[in-house]
């Protein structure tokens, strides 16, 4: 099956998703939404890998995507556990109230 979508378009989409993810991490206050945005960024990079793999007909891109999926699963589980803890301790999910590490 011949793809009718060019690699540039896919890369542009991946870049767009990545920037959206970063923007989400930077501007959202709620930690859960930040975590979601991180997931978006991960998926953006996964998309880029898959597209690149199919472009050069190599399996590496798909291998990397499986790695990213596994990593994302681990990240989400740890991230959610941390968020639970943060909520227990601070009764809040507002990132701006969590500035204890201020130098």
């Amino acid at each position: 099956m011949k793809s009718s979508i060019s690699i540039e378009m896919v890369m542009l989409l991946a870049g767009l998703l990545f920037v959206l993810g970063i923007a989400g991490v930077i501007i959202r206050k709620n930690i859960i939404f930040m975590l979601l945005s991180v997931e978006v960024m991960l998926n953006a990079s996964g998309l880029a890998f898959v597209a690149a793999g199919s472009r050069w007909a190599q399996p590496d891109g798909q291998v990397m995507f499986i790695f990213i999926l596994a990593m994302a699963a681990a990240e989400v589980s740890i991230g959610l556990a941390l968020i639970l803890q943060i909520y227990h301790q601070h009764k809040s999910l507002d990132i701006d109230k969590l500035k204890e590490m201020k130098g």
Partner: protein, 629 residues
């Protein structure tokens, strides 16, 4: 008798060790027994050795005993060897014998002091170091003794350390003699560089082979050694420490700052006489330094009111005579005067100490007076000592020794009329200040009530010393009457005879002049201080005389000169550098680092979004650099 030699320094050293380690636990009686006993035993050993030395002179003119090898480094192997010849015998005899008397005197003198054992420990260590100095067979061991006596001098000048002035005097003595010691150390390096050895007999044997008469290296070496001697013996220009050294107890002044340590320079020059003979210039400088010192110190002694300072200046002046004698090549005359001077100056200091003690620590002669009948023993012994110092003709020992020096200053090959005239003038001044001191202390009306009388332990050493101050001169009589040369015969085993100019046989005229100068000096003091004291008041009216008096009183302004030339610039630089100029660079580095850290710590805001912004901006910068390049 040879193998007894090691006992001579070992006994005082053992005394020092016991007193330093266990002195606090021992009772006062034991401290006195050990302190005075060790030196007395040592004196007895010296007597035994001396008698055998004189009755059966050793074949090669010396006893020597090697104890062990000090170190062995690439051909440099100084040994701990004791070496006794006629010259060191005289010094060892004086050190142990007078040392023992002074220790016995101190048992009573220091009886009320709380640091009894520390005093005797230091004194014993001093006697040990001094014996090491004169018995040393190589210059390195001599230098060890040399520094040891300097240390003890420091410890004992500052003995009463509660008074900061005493500590200042001690530091002054230590630092000023250090100037000379440094020069002497350089001299030892030069000697080792030239000869490859520091053993004194080897050096003296090789010197005439290696150096021709008047060689430049000989002059340099001689002058460096002379600088060491000048520092230790308080000669011009390093004489300023000795008057201040009188801050120590009187027995210390008697032993260290009159009889023994300050004559170490005389010993050094006499010991190394061959090097000095190779350099007529250096020897001339020795004579000139001696003459200038005896002249300057004599005038200063004339103006002091503190009895111990009078004696201190007179010591400087008398050592000046010894240097003069060494300089004109009258080696034995210098050593003879050293011995006689040790007797009478120790006597004078001890007697002055007794006077000061009896008058409740009064040092000012103008507040003494009228002690002639109250302290007869002190009076007579002091009178004998003064007669010897003033060189009272015929009856005092000082006359015979000083007359010799005066004669050689004129008649010896390197003597000249100017040196002789200065020495004669010095004799005149000596007689004047001695008579002034006698009159002020013992005649006139009593101005201070006397306390307790000195006991037997103090008076007996005085009497013994007075005996020697009177009669020790008779072992060496001038050749126009008596012509006895027991002492110089002994020393001529080691030291060369003085060479006279041709056609010198009228010693009598010089003796008559010396008579006149002594009596003239005494008469002057008699007029001004006894017969017509109002003349002094009249003199004080004149501004010029007062200025001259103050100038002499301050020791010819040497202290002021050194303050301006050396002390003040050093203090000035130290003040500038108080905040460590060199450290400023490193302080600057820490300052910048701390500032940067403060500045960067603002970025640690704890706000997650700022960190992410930082990451993103960083990534953008790197990417754009990558793209642009």
């Amino acid at each position: 008798m040879n193998n007894l030699l090691w006992l001579v320094p070992a006994l005082p050293f053992a005394g020092f060790l016991i007193l330093a380690l266990a002195g606090k636990q021992l009772s006062r009686v034991w401290v006195a027994m050990i302190g005075a006993g060790s030196v007395s035993l040592s004196a007895i050993v010296v007597l035994i050795i001396g008698i055998s030395f004189l009755s059966q002179p050793p074949a090669n003119g010396n006893y020597s005993q090697t104890l062990w090898t000090w170190m062995q480094v690439a051909g440099f192997n100084p040994k701990i060897t004791l070496f006794l010849d006629a010259l060191s015998l005289v010094f060892v005899f004086v050190i142990t014998f007078i040392g023992a008397l002074i220790h016995i005197y101190s048992v009573a003198f220091m009886a009320d002091d709380k640091d009894y054992s520390r005093f005797f420990a230091c004194m014993n260590l001093f006697v040990f170091s001094m014996l090491l100095l004169v018995l040393a067979d190589n210059l390195l061991l001599l230098y060890l003794g040399w520094e040891g006596v300097g240390l003890c001098s420091y410890l004992l000048i500052g003995f009463w350390y509660e008074n900061p002035a005493n500590g200042y005097a001690a530091r002054k003595a230590f630092i000023i003699t250090r100037v000379g010691d440094t020069a002497m150390a350089i001299g030892l390096f030069v000697i080792f560089y030239q000869f490859g050895t520091l053993a004194i007999p080897d050096v003296l044997a090789k010197a005439p082979v290696l150096w021709h008469q008047g060689a430049q290296m000989a002059t340099i070496t001689a002058l460096l050694l002379l600088a060491g001697g000048v520092g230790k013996s308080a000669q011009l220009p390093l004489q300023t420490w000795l008057p201040d050294a009188m801050a120590g107890p009187s027995p210390v002044s008697a032993l260290i700052h009159a009889a023994t340590m300050v004559t170490a320079g005389v010993y050094l020059i006499a010991r190394m006489h061959i090097i000095f003979q190779l350099s007529p210039i250096a020897q001339m400088i020795v004579a000139v330094i001696g003459a200038a010192t005896l002249f300057i110190a004599g005038f200063s002694a004339l103006t002091q009111y503190d009895i111990k300072r009078v004696l201190a200046y007179s010591t400087i002046s008398q050592i000046g005579y010894m240097f003069l004698a060494l300089g004109v090549g009258a080696w034995t005359a210098a050593i003879f005067h050293f011995m006689i001077h040790a007797f009478f100056k120790a006597l004078l200091f001890l007697a002055a100490g007794a006077v000061i003690e009896t008058l409740h620590h009064e040092h000012n002669m103008f507040k003494m007076g009228g002690l002639k009948n109250k302290l007869p023993v002190i009076f007579w012994t002091f009178l004998i000592g003064s007669a010897s110092l003033a060189a009272l003709p015929l009856i005092s020992a000082g006359f015979y020794s000083k007359d010799q020096i005066l004669w050689y200053a004129w008649a010896s090959e390197s003597g000249n009329p100017l040196l002789w005239f200065i020495a004669l003038l010095g004799a005149f001044i000596t007689a004047a200040y001695t008579a002034r001191m006698m009159i002020l202390v013992f005649w006139g009306e009593a101005k201070t009530e006397i306390g307790h009388h000195p006991g037997k332990l103090m008076t007996v050493p005085l009497i013994i010393l007075a005996f020697f101050s009177l009669f020790a001169g008779f072992i060496e009589l001038p050749h126009n009457f008596g012509h006895l040369t027991l002492f110089s015969n002994l020393l001529h085993q080691v030291l060369p005879e003085a060479v006279l100019k041709a056609g010198m046989n009228t010693e009598l005229q010089f003796q008559i002049l010396a008579f006149l100068s002594t009596f003239g000096g005494i008469y002057l003091a008699y007029i001004f201080y006894y017969k017509q004291p109002q003349r002094i008041e009249k003199l004080k009216q004149s501004g010029f005389v007062m200025n001259l008096y103050l100038f002499w009183f301050s020791g010819w302004g040497f202290d002021k000169l050194y303050n301006v030339l050396i002390v003040n610039p050093v203090v000035f630089i130290a003040n500038i550098n108080k905040s460590d100029v060199v450290d400023k660079l490193y302080q600057g580095i820490t300052f910048v680092t701390i500032r940067l850290y403060r500045f960067l710590s603002f970025t640690q805001s704890g706000s997650l979004r700022w960190y992410i912004m930082g990451l993103v901006i960083g990534a953008i910068i790197i990417l754009s650099i990558q793209i642009m390049l």
